[in-house]
Amino acid sequence: MVTQTKTKVDENGDLAVLRFEGDITSHSEEAVLGKYRALNAATKKILLDFSKVPYLNSSGIALVIQLLMAANKASQKVVCFGLSAHFVKVFTMLGLAKYTSLHADETAAREAVG
């Protein structure tokens, strides 16, 4: 059963953490892009927390890619953490390394984003 996506946003200076919870699907536009667009204009570093996301379908991945493209255009650095091994492989196959990096946990992600 597909669950509703919830997003908790933690903002601290130029760093924002988008903590997703639930499946990310075509119904998650507000939870992914909506929350991204509502971030403080001063945000330069973004962490995407997928540790409570059991499943992303292709439409959900499309939303993440749109976020990455928009952040790239706005010269914001995005790193992801908490993805399951399956979706680490999917993100890798999608060739997203140019736009983001994938990390096991938040500590590693914070270190990567600097």
């Binding site: 292709s58 439409s59 499309a62 890619i65 060739g95 140019k98």
Partner: protein, 614 residues
Amino acid sequence: MTRALLHLILLSPLLPAQPAERSLEADLSSGWRMIEGDNPAFAQAGGNTGTWKSVTLPVSDLPFGMYWLTRTIQIPAGSVDAPQALVLGTMPGEYEVYLNGLHLGSTPNFRMGNVVLPCMYSFPIPAGILRSSPTLYIAFRMDVAPRHASSEVVRTSALYRVTSLQAAKVAVAGEIDRRRVATFPRAATLLLDLVFAAALFFVWRNRGGWTAALWLGSAFVSFAASSAIFLALHWSTIYPTSTDLRWVASAEEGTFYLGEIAILGFTLAMINRVSRGWLILPVLFFPAICAIPYFPGRPIYILGDLSTLGVAGGLAVWRILAGRQTGAGIFALILAFCGSFLMSSTFHFTGPAVSIGPLVFRVDNWAQVLIGFLMMADVLRRSAADWGERQRLGSEMESARAVQSLLLNAQSSPGGSEWAIDARYVPAQEVGGDFYWSRVEPDGARLILIGDVSGKGLKAAMLVSLIHGALERETETSPAALLSNLNEVVCTHLRGGFVTACCARAEPGGCLRIANAGHVSPYAQGLEVEVAAGLPLGVVRGVEYSEVALPLQPGSAFTLLTDGVPEATNAQPELFGFDRTCGISQQSAQEIVSAAQAWGQSDDITVVKVRRAK
């Protein structure tokens, strides 16, 4: 013993005839004195009733309150030896009867609330009373209270007599028979309610789960149950006096109120995007409605009304003021008032009735049937239109599926190359966003492309058709260049989403050149082929893809598939995953599809097996 009985039977014609019993016959319809108020002393003869109001039975239009009615009749000396009884027809309230100060009995539920079951009652007169006094002082202590109006559908006969017990029994039995016939129309409304409910449940069950039909059908069942309780009361042989029947009235009102809640649920179902949570308010009132017979008085009726009228009416006004679905809002408002009217007419007032011969038709019952019929007709009309539209869309989707199937199956033809294709495509819906394409080059090489449009259904299928058209026009023979060109096409037409694709060129001599645009890597000889990751098609323009080369021996094969295989999900839910996919990658295309389906198909599944001839 048997012999004695036989003697008695044989000799009985020879026994002397018994003299006929003498009975007192007196009409009690006139000569009554009535006073408003309550004084137990009025049960005894000897009071001054000269100032009391002179009335004739039946008395009507009395304000709510307690009343006493008295009159006296003379008993001829030695003239009565048959068992006698009082026969009393319609009265404006529940009452108890006193004869010469002796309490004779009372109607059901006297002083127990507002439940009134007007009927003809007979009260046997103790023989001692008739012998002990030449006069009979009759007193009624009467409570005129708000009535449970449904009980008044059949007007009780205006018959008031002192007569023989046998004649009284005959009169009451005749009255009950008349009541049964008179309530046949109510039985007809019960049957109509059940027919309507059956039609609506059929629509709900067989026409795509119309919840509005389920709610309305439930309302009809509730109304039918209420009618059944009513009829059970009115068709019963006789009511024992002083019996607490409030629980029956409570059940009748409760079931009718459940119908009101169902009508509200129907209203909410007709107004899309309104939470069913609104129903909690009238549900909370349910115990209060069932308690009405136990706590007489108008305020509790009004509370009951407010629960349905307030919720449905408030919702309707809100929808109208919000400027959304004005028509539905007005519809809900009308329903709210209709529901309120029906409740009011049932609980508060005696509904107007029309008599045709022995049959009595109560207007509010038939108004409920008429309004219900119109609502049902509207639901049936809408569901029929919706069903027709679904059938039409289903037919068009079937056509689209057939066209897509033709497009894809055309690629499976093996001729002209040493590379043969075995492909399977199973969309999750009628049509899907997976696709594959193949072309044999003039040099005998075979170009194979597998792809997956993000999303499912018709929108994805339309993009697949567009990509197919672009591929048919494509002249590029290099997998990487072909993907770059296709990316430009997709970027031009795609608004959101992406397309993953993997393209392979299987050349004569066994060399395999592969480029990947974000797609699941191919498998060869039971291993995942290491390919350079590339962005999916449609994300950004100007992407260049790189190729890897892989030799394949004669007779060996490689497998291209979409994420419908590794992302098949079972009930736990657990993904099929890449490891299991790799493990079955050397099986045939059909076997791989079957394995994914057995695990739990959640997306389109496509498997293309490309085998080099031996």
